[in-house]
Amino acid sequence: MKYRIYSILAILFTLLGCQQVEEDYQAFQMHVELPVNFPEPTYPFGDNPITTDGFILGRKLFYDPRLSLGNGISCAECHNQSHAFTHHGHDLSEGVHPGVFGTRNAQPIQNMAFMKEFNWDGSKDKLWDQPLVPITDPVEMDETMSNVISKLRSDDSYKKMFSTVFGDQGAINSVNLLKALSQFMGALISSNAKYDKYSRGEDGVVFSPIEKQGLSLFQQKCASCHRGELFTSQEFVNNGIGEHPNLPNETGRASVTSSNPFATVDELKRSEDYYKFKVPSLRNVEKTYPYMHDGRMVLLTKVLDFYDDDTSPFLTRMDHLDPRLIQTDSDGKETLGIPMTEDEKVAILAFLKTLTDYEFLNDERYANPN
């Protein structure tokens, strides 16, 4: 008897709970499901659990230009869903100031919940405070957190949403804003590409012979850096890209690992981390052009020509070039790059296209709700 009453109560509460969510948000629930073929997440689910309301607030913030100086651009300006949250074709991106560009290619926002470091140089090691960089960087949104907060505080819909998400601690402040953005970004998981369905044996998905050949070649020639189901070892490597003549202040990871916040470019050139960048994930790589940390290569075929050992463009022999990109013969003579025939590159390219996740690119829950 007792139990029956409890179960009726429980069902009632569940119904009420569901109904409320449906009324407010057109019936969708954000469940973060960790793909079975993925590694352990780095996202702190205990500290900042991803809830439907938190995701929706984070999404509103992500698409809100009030995060920038003069309300010019939102995060989505350079992180466009249809291109796996990159800047549709731009090598570098203009921030809020006309004609002022950043120095790095906008990276995709996908599978952040599994990453140890963020940004090309790994300057952030926590997802929740990563947005401080784009919001405050003078070449990006050039805004202060306190200005953003005061803009949001004058908006009643934000007041309501913050208190729904964070309850008693629901003030509109930096930490809550960043936590909401983190919930949105943490929920953006791309794990339903053709490759995933093939490797998980779902929906009867099969690879064509050339895709199979490409996968096998990829595993031999690329996977020591673009490793595992995230297609990145998350290492910082010098890939022989060579200095960009127009970006003389670029030092890569050296600026992060230096203990001197005022270190000069000349000092950082002596660092073993000079011009090292994070190995990017190759998920949705077909859609995230242009490539490299400064977006200098537009076509994937050119990237493969760069990494092979006998067609131009060629690798630059920088001091800390990753040894996996150096072949040394018995006379000690070095050849830079990876041996790949033209046919092999075609097969690898066919495989890379199986990493495109159309469910992710078209998921309406991730789109601008406004």
Binding site: D47, N48, S123, K124, D125, K126, W128, D129, L132, V133, I135, T136, D137, T144, M145, S146, Q169, A171, N173, S174, V175, N176, L178, K179, V256, T257, S258, S259, N260, P261, F262, A263, E267
Partner: protein, 292 residues
């Protein structure tokens, strides 16, 4: 069943009455200040600072900026029990730009339990543990950091301290200014803990809000009591410098604080009666007095 209903009604009414009366009390008296920390600095902004450079020459500089974040405020009882205050209450940004005419910045601490205490400690900056820990516990710290104490591009996004001074030397065409900003950067750990032992027992109870006068000897950062840890002002910061020098700088920074004396019996004051925020320097309820 009736009995159960009656019981519920009684309990609910009682709860309502109790919660109402509690609210009344708290709005009437407010949040009691457990203790007031008065950081009196040896210099104010614009004051002259005589420092030694790497060539052992004396240089005159004027102090332009001096500010530091404090976190993890912890009181230790006479029985060696540690009471750590929440960073969301007790973390502060001490900034000479907001000091009063005696170069003093006043901090009001609340929620220290009644008891007898022998020392207080705090961190300068934000430890890696706190920065990597609970986000909710960083709510106030992040707000404080927005006052130009943020390295948005650094894993630990907090700047721990800043000191800047302009060199007055007119003989050199390129005199070296002082500019040191400390944080956890690369492999360098800039976080330090300061422990100040009280000259007498600090007794906290509901009737008093004792004030602690803390002297902050800024010049000791460069000329500490231990001469082997002296720091030439131009050996760090913009010119790189060895990590030993920067480490000495951070160590020295933690040694400039001392509790000079305590006013143990000052009448209780309430947070609501003193100006909100970190830069409150007026303190009408405490008496005025001179320092020897």
């Amino acid at each position: 069943m009736n009995f159960l209903k009656l019981y519920l009604v009684v309990v609910c009414t009682a709860a309502l009455i109790i919660s109402c009366s509690q609210n009344e009390i708290s709005t009437k008296e407010g949040t009691q200040v457990s203790a007031t920390l008065k950081f009196q600095h040896s210099l104010g902004l614009g004051d002259l600072l005589e420092l030694t450079d790497t060539k052992s020459q004396k240089q005159s500089l004027t102090l332009d900026k001096f500010k530091y974040l404090i976190s993890e405020v912890q009181f230790t009882t006479n029985d060696n029990e540690n009471i750590t205050l929440s960073n969301n209450d007790a973390a502060q940004l001490i900034d000479l730009d907001f000091a009063d005419e005696s170069n003093t910045v006043t901090v009001h601490l609340t929620d220290v339990p009644v008891g007898d205490y022998k020392s207080v400690s705090f961190g300068i900056g934000v430890s890696q543990e706190v920065a990597n820990g609970s986000t909710e516990e960083q709510t106030k710290l992040m707000d404080l950091a927005e006052q130009d104490m943020q390295w948005a591009w650094n894993p630990n996004a907090y700047v721990f301290s800043k000191i800047e001074a302009s060199n007055l030397n007119t003989e050199s065409t390129v005199p070296t200014d002082l500019q040191v900003h400390i944080g956890n950067k690369g492999s360098f750990v800039g976080y330090r803990t300061v422990t100040m032992v009280f000259p007498e027992t600090l007794s906290l109870d509901s009737k008093v809000s004792p004030s602690l006068h803390i002297t902050v000897a800024i010049e000791k950062i460069f000329a500490p009591e231990n001469p082997s840890k002296s720091v030439a002002f131009d050996a760090i910061g913009a010119h790189g410098g060895s990590s030993d020098v920067t480490s000495n700088f951070a160590d020295n920074f933690a040694s400039i604080f001392q509790v000079h004396h305590i006013h143990p019996t000052e009448q209780a004051i309430y947070l609501e009666d003193v100006a909100e925020g970190l830069n409150a320097n007026e303190d009408s309820s405490s008496h005025t007095h001179s320092h020897e």
